[in-house]
Symmetry: none
Subunit: 121 residues, 4 copies
DNA sequence: GTGGTCTAGACCACC
DNA sequence: GTGGTCTAGACCACG
């Protein structure tokens, strides 16, 4: 239920999860995703919070609503998410990660170890 | 002087800077750091904001105050900062980075390229 | 509403009160405590002062915040408070009291009289 | 040198020490106490801080100055200190100590143990 | 509604 | 001069 980090808005964390599930193939293009209410109950959160998530996702073209039926994953959802994330990753996270590692005196081995560890899974 | 990011509290960004300067050797153990007022003018923010930063750093044992004299870098400041950052990096940033890369279909080469690029500098 | 002592920061005295109310069972684990604004009006101080109190209590693990809902008493609040107070009492107040009494030529009877007086109440 | 508590003004802590030494007989009525400068060097503190201490003590009639010779312990010093402390102890510290102990669930035994421990010394 | 942050300006004790 | 505290009032994101 309450496995949300304190330092990031809940509605963003919900969005992250949904996007993860789209990218990973758990939800595919055209799939209906659970309703706001279902989601809210599922994760123990205020309805308004989920509304905000869906609102954002639909503005980003990742989901779209069919009146009376619910929200559905758009055809380009996966592409949009991946492009956006890739961009941010390459421009921000990656350089920042490398900078951080050098500052901390960590070697590339540390990264490769983690990489292998996660590959084995 | 407003070279602060929007998405992170200013007082935290100030703390980051000071910690960077301690780790990089710009400030050493025992050094006095500029007074809240000096610092506030220097970076163009309100005094209270700097007070908040110093207050936090002192709670973390990174600086300590000598009454009427100002704030001074503690002996273990560098160690505390590095340990804390290392911990957070290994537990959060690194796994998240790897997870993200796999989800995005990026290979370890992407990381190694960035690593070499930054090493050359 | 200014029933605060001069020689101790107001925000600390507010913290003391809240802790007293937790220990005495007025607030129980999981209870919501009044919002910063309510509290501020209640005791006639500025909102920021209460913010500071709550901030400190939350750092100490005595309360925690639920975004948009308010502050809630943690499960170990009472334990944390009592342990902390006991520790400080045994290490500081008690030895200092004894030291003071001997210096002043007071006997243990003085203490026992006060003890009984307060027990009778 | 720096064995001062953070939460009490240094000049007051110096005064406490001097008074302790008067009450305990280390300094007697008529004795000359070290000069401001000697004191400042001795305990590693700014001269002004010691000046403030002496100023306070002389206003309280505990020491008095002989021009060009230094500060001397007055005849009633010990009495003044003890009366003052006794008053404050009985009216404030003692009741507060008892209150605290009851709140913490400590018994009078705790006090008596500490008392004996300190008596043995 | 909630807390979190920031500004502006003030007063204080202390060194 | 230093830090510590407090007030007043504002804006923001969040639920």
């Amino acid at each position: 239920m309450n496995d949300f980090k304190q330092d990031r808005a809940i509605y963003l964390q919900i969005a992250d999860r949904i996007c993860d599930e789209i990218v990973s193939g758990r939800y595919n293009a055209g799939d209906r995703i659970p309703s706001v209410r279902e989601y809210a109950v599922m994760i123990g959160v205020n309805t308004n919070t989920v509304v905000r998530t869906f609102d954002m996702l639909s503005r980003q073209g990742i989901v779209h609503t069919k009146r009376g039926l619910g929200y559905f994953v758009t055809n380009d959802a996966s592409e949009i998410i991946i492009n956006d994330r890739k961009q941010r990753f390459l421009n921000e996270s990656l350089p920042e990660t490398v900078r951080q590692m050098k500052l901390l005196g960590l070697t590339e081995e540390v990264f490769l170890d983690e990489w292998k560890k996660e590959t084995g899974k």
